[in-house]
Amino acid sequence: MADRILKSISTRGLKNAVRGSEYKKEALISYGLLIAGYIVLQLGAVSGLIGRNLQGQFVPICVYISLAISLNLVVGISGELSLGHAGFMAVGCFSGVLVARVVGLHLGFEPAVVLIAMFFGAVMAALAGFVIGIPILGLRGDYLAIVTLAFGEIIVNLMNVIYFGFDGNGHLKFAFNHPIEGIEDNDRIIAGAIGATGTKTMATFTMGLLLCLFTVFVVLNLKNSKQGRAIMSIRDNRIAGESIGLSVRKYKLMAFVTSAALAGMAGALYGLNFSTVAPLKFNFNTSVLILVFVVLGGVGNIWGGIIAAAILTVLPEAFRQFADYRMLTYAVVLILVMIATYNPTIKSRVSAIWAKLKPVKNKDKDKDKPKKAKKAGKEGA
């Protein structure tokens, strides 16, 4: 049979090749970061080294990490720009709060209530993602981006006119576009533009950690599965993907819905961390904020997103001492960090410095330049 086997590619020919991503390593770093972060922060909180301000952000940080990772599923892994991620967070938040309120009447054990709420939030957000995704995923590039933006705004707008509450007998009431007549203020659950009110805050840091771990687990597993590979293939080359029988819509929808479900889960936890959340919270600005985490952490890079989300959530708080200049400083830092991380000149400089610091690192980890050169050549052909 030997003669039948074609001449092997020699390793010499691969000197410019780049090894593929290593899932195990990525998973290890991601889980490690989360768990180590949790332990350090918990210890800090217990020992009193970490102030109230930071402690108060534990849950939001987890929520944002989870959102960043789930958005990464769309932006990094599926390769589509989404500007409406906060919309799914909103769906998850309000449905989660609603369920928590109803279930909370019968179930005293809070972690269980939170889990149920998160599950329900995920289901509802997935449903929203499905309904939205079906028509729009045929669009491409910036056009898809603007449609996701539009859906984000539509969701916020709809949340503004949805009312839920208990009537006098403890029955759930729903109204659309007008407040529910004749119910007490504290029997309102979701009150249109006022949002979810009177929520019992049940979210804990541990819940947040679980959410993050679950999100990472799902996204990394998905990435390393038949479906994930199909999603990434379509991202890399849609036409080739179709040519090997991958249905673009199906797989894009899969990524979109999974991402929406995870965002819904995060939204539910977010909703249960504050006694009130207004729909306005989930507008374009929040969607963009999550996108900033993703881009700054590196598109497609899970643990990068974890770090970026954590740091960027804390950053505006750390800038409080600048008083009036706080948000200005934040803006400047954001611009500078973007330039520093993406500008080719600066990037290569930093790489050079890094290489000097770590001369031992082996050769197959560098050089994507030859690859780029070849790509350019290919396109030219």
């Binding site: 009150a191 006022i194 504050f274 952490g297 804390v314 409080r320 960090v337 990037k347 790489s351 890094w354």
Partner: protein, 382 residues
């Protein structure tokens, strides 16, 4: 790999930098021996006008008190930015707690107020909010008090005033899709027994075009338009109504106050606008005039109701604190309990937003709103 690492390194560096900066700390004013008052409000973003006013009003009162009583309890004031977002507000409140907050001068906005009230209750921090007007802010929290009218209160007061004084008017409502405006509107609608001919809303603070809403009012024949909104969008509404040649009586609530302070505002547009407000900058009372003068001297602009509320809050808290007989070094929780006792024990405060203000056990204030009408560019009390 390297690429990622570069990015990571840069992001991490930025983070470390930030923490380093944060930890060396700006000179924060809270010391152990002062009575530390803090506020969380929107100092940036679309609602910054209200947060800044509260910050300035509070600071002014603190400065006055400290200057007047160099031997008494010294106050310290710090406002933290919350962008009118409950999440940020909790952060702002926690920051104040880290710095040694003794008494919380509420949040400036309602939604944020609800979120923070719960935390303040857990921490047992006495809270007197200048302007967070939702019922839910005080509800269920014995330590949280409002200095402003709450939303239903305003809605009810407005409804009653209109029923009593302008019974025959056909009423239209333009409200905003936010907690403040909807809270008032809902109560107004359920309380008002007259004829409501049209109800329209708008979504955002920087909404531009109101012609559709105004046309609806006009078509429905509304001759009184109730506008429970802030004055920034109201200024646009007035301008456009004027251009359309539609001139009903516009009836606002406390958010409408300040419309005359908008720079370069053509006061003739607001001619005849009515509003229920606890505070009128042009009122004749000595205290008000003194406050307005001090404020203009300090900040170069006329105070609006938010500034006045904060100003009153500080004075009320100061006076109440003196009644507790505690030292400024007392424990925050201890202060809280003592303050609750004072506030619910018949304590009255007088200030620029009301005389003889009293509080009930749920934390709501009892004071009478003033109905004003804008005539020749000044508020005239009715």
């Amino acid at each position: 790999m390297k690429k990622k690492f570069t990015r990571f390194a840069a992001v991490a560096m930025a983070g470390v930098m930030a923490f380093a900066l944060a930890s060396c700390g700006g000179g924060h004013p809270f010391k152990k021996d002062t009575l530390n008052l803090g506020n969380a409000g929107p100092l940036t973003g679309g609602a910054a006008i209200y947060g800044n006013a509260v910050d300035r009003g509070g600071q002014l009162a603190v400065n006055e008190i400290n200057a007047a009583n160099p031997d008494g309890v010294q106050l310290a004031w710090k406002a933290e930015d919350d962008e009118a977002d409950p999440e940020k507000s909790v952060n702002a409140y926690n920051t104040l707690m880290d710095k040694g907050l003794n008494i919380f001068i509420g949040t400036t906005t309602s939604g944020a107020g609800v979120a923070v009230a719960e935390k303040a209750d857990e921490d047992r921090v006495f809270t007197l909010t200048p302007s967070a007007s939702q019922v839910a802010v005080t509800e269920g929290h014995d330590n949280v008090f409002q200095l402003c009218f709450n939303d239903p209160n305003q809605g009810v007061a407005a409804a009653q005033y209109i029923m009593a004084n302008m019974k025959d008017k056909k009423v239209g409502i333009i409200s905003q899709q936010n907690d403040y405006s909807q809270g008032i509107k809902e109560k107004f609608v359920s309380e008002f027994k007259g004829e409501i001919v049209a109800q329209e809303v708008f979504a955002k603070d920087d909404e531009k075009d109101f012609t559709a809403q105004l046309n609806a009012m006009k078509d429905a024949g509304a001759d009184l338009v109730f506008v429970p909104i802030y004055y920034t969008p109201a200024a646009n509404i007035l301008t456009q109504a004027n251009k359309m040649g539609y001139a009903p009586t516009f009836f606002g609530v406390d958010g409408m106050d300040g419309i005359l302070t908008a720079e370069n505002f053509d006061a003739s547009l607001a001619e005849g606008v009515m509003l229920l407000t606890p505070f009128v900058a042009s009122a004749n009372e000595e205290a008000t005039q003194k406050f307005v003068k001090a404020y203009v001297d300090a900040y170069g602009e006329e105070p609006n109701q938010f500034a006045a509320d904060a100003y009153d809050c500080v004075y009320a808290v100061y006076n109440a604190f003196n009644q507790t007989g505690l030292e400024a070094t007392a424990d925050t929780a201890e202060i809280c309990e003592a303050m609750i006792k004072v506030f619910t024990g018949g304590f009255t405060a007088s200030g620029v937003t009301g005389a003889e203000m009293k509080w009930n056990a749920t934390g709501q204030v009892d004071k009478t709103p003033k109905a004003c009408v804008i005539e020749n560019g000044v508020y005239v009390q009715k």
